[in-house]
């Protein structure tokens, strides 16, 4: 099913669409180009000059030790960074050529196109499983033609359908941690985002749930571009096509040390620091 959002403003330059709403169709994977991204918290720079392309329909993993700015970078990609008080940023982030920080771009709109799954599962605890799946559409005031089909489709993609199909009316908070996280993935997929950002989605989960979510990531990669932050080297190797290694050296802001195809980063990295990190020498 494809849902289009109503156009909000006409593009100013015919070659360069000014807004996703009129020109882009939800449900098709998109490409993100981050250019010269810097970030500050309370005036302190934490991320400097990150240039990274996250290719369409591919899984890009952001790896690196704690506190090197991976999550911050991820949150910049769908404008969740600005929710944090005292947070600032520089540079540009383009979704298929449209700067999401450009004038006239609304954060709400951006987040509909670039969804996010968080480290800690956060379903709406007092909404039912079905309501949780439909929550994003309700925010956008979109009424799907067939709700039950969409619920089934989204939960199937999230790898949760078989476990919950008989109890869609139960509360989202009643599920186990791993199921809650898959519900969050299903909820994000229900709005047909073009990119899905995942911030250490498995760090609070057991190995079985982790495996299940990794399967889900592989299954959805055709339909949505995935960017995943992970501390788990094996996971990055298992699920990602591309990898970017972030590092913040002492008293320095985080930077991308190396990025490229996952086999290359893990097999024959060009930078010694990358080699040390992926081989468990530090971090």
């Amino acid at each position: 099913m494809t849902t289009t959002l109503p156009p909000s403003s006409a593009p100013t330059d015919p070659d360069r669409p000014a807004s996703f709403s009129g020109t882009h169709v939800l449900g098709e994977p998109g490409q993100i180009d981050a250019d010269g991204v810097c970030a500050w918290f309370g005036g302190r720079i934490v991320l400097e000059s990150v240039d990274l392309v996250m290719e369409k329909s591919k899984v890009t993993a952001l790896i690196g030790p704690s506190g090197c700015g991976k999550s911050t970078f991820l949150r910049i990609l769908n404008r969740m960074h600005e929710v944090v008080p005292g947070a600032q940023l520089a540079g540009s982030v383009e979704l298929d050529g449209v700067d999401i920080y450009g004038p006239g771009q609304r954060a709400m709109e951006t987040r509909r196109h670039i969804g996010m799954v968080f480290q800690k599962p956060n379903p709406f605890p007092a909404m039912t499983i079905a309501e949780n799946v439909l929550a994003g559409l309700k925010f956008s005031r979109i009424s799907p033609a067939n709700k039950s089909d969409l619920i089934e489709e989204s939960l199937t993609k999230g790898g949760l359908w078989n476990e919950v199909k008989d109890r869609l009316g139960e509360l989202g908070g009643a599920l186990s941690g791993g199921q809650q996280q898959r519900l969050c993935i299903a909820r994000s997929l229900a709005v047909k985002p073009r990119v899905l950002l995942m911030d250490e989605p498995c760090s609070a989960l057991d190995p079985t749930s982790t495996l299940r979510i990794e399967q889900t990531i592989k299954e959805i990669a055709d339909e949505v571009t995935v960017v995943i932050v992970t501390h788990n080297m094996q996971q990055a190797q298992r699920v990602s096509d591309y990898c970017a290694f972030f590092l913040a050296e002492e008293n320095q802001p985080g930077r991308v040390i190396e990025s490229g195809r996952t086999e290359m980063i893990f097999g024959e990295p060009t930078d010694q620091r990358t080699f040390d990190y992926v081989n468990g020498q530090f971090g």
């Binding site: 929710v83 956060n122 007092a126 925010f139 994000s188």
Partner: protein
Amino acid sequence: MAIDLDTPRSEPQHVAPTPITITRDYSTPDRIFRRSVQISGGGVFLLLVAIGSFLAWYGWPAFETAGWGFFTHSGPVTPGSSSGFGVLASLTGTVEVAFVAMLVGAPIAICTALFLSEYAPLKTRPTMIAMIDLAAAIPSIIFGLWAFFELQPNVVGFSTWLSRHASFIPFFKVTSPPLNASIFIAGLVVGIMIVPIVASICREVFSLAPAGEREAALALGASRWQMIRTVVMPFARGGMIGAVMLGLGRALEETIAVSIILGGSYKVTTEILQHGGSTISQLIATNFGSGGELGLHDLLLCGFVLFLLTLVINLAASAIVNRSRSGAGVDL
């Protein structure tokens, strides 16, 4: 050796398990602490019972004299006169003042709290919060004086406008002007008085809404208002009701500000815009010491009625708070 498979072997006899008794052995400091919190906790409950029984006991002679008429009569003004002193007008007045106060105060308080917790600029937020908390500490006599000299003259015009254009609502009908010293104005003052305390508690509850769920809503493309409606308000519903009920408690018992404003006529009326009306606490405060012994009994029985009213309202409130679940019943 051949094994005999034909004779059934006897099962080990089944013994029903019994739970063991765990003896709790507290250390001395723990025991002292337990006992002192038990005493203070139980003491508050005893105090409640003691106050209730005291009021009932000393109000009883008044009930014996007036009978059920005590609850159906309204006046005359003097308590202690054996002919038909009654609480009815003051009881309805109390409810009316509280109703106006809640209607005015609760929405303003909740909006103030939302502004402080969600929208206020971070730099000025602590100052604003401090000011609201400070406003909660302003003595009610100050509010009463301010309302008498400043608010009342300015509200009379609005009352007149209401009585002219909205008199199809029975409450806004006026049969005997003037329009000052009315239940409406008293309700307004009390409404303004309860804003700081209700806002302060609501803000605290709103700020406890889980950050993860807030982010979940925003990341799904919710506007700030949608996020507040989906996450903050349902989470805070119980606390909000508690805060409003605390405000209502204050509105019911507010004495001095109401006494300054109200005209004090003991007649049951729904016409809240016009001069007159009384509340139970105002009745007690203005008549205390008059009317001899029976007058005192009368007033204490009035106090018992007020005590029961607040008790019932608080019990109802706690029932609502218990039933409302964080995040429940959200309709986007």
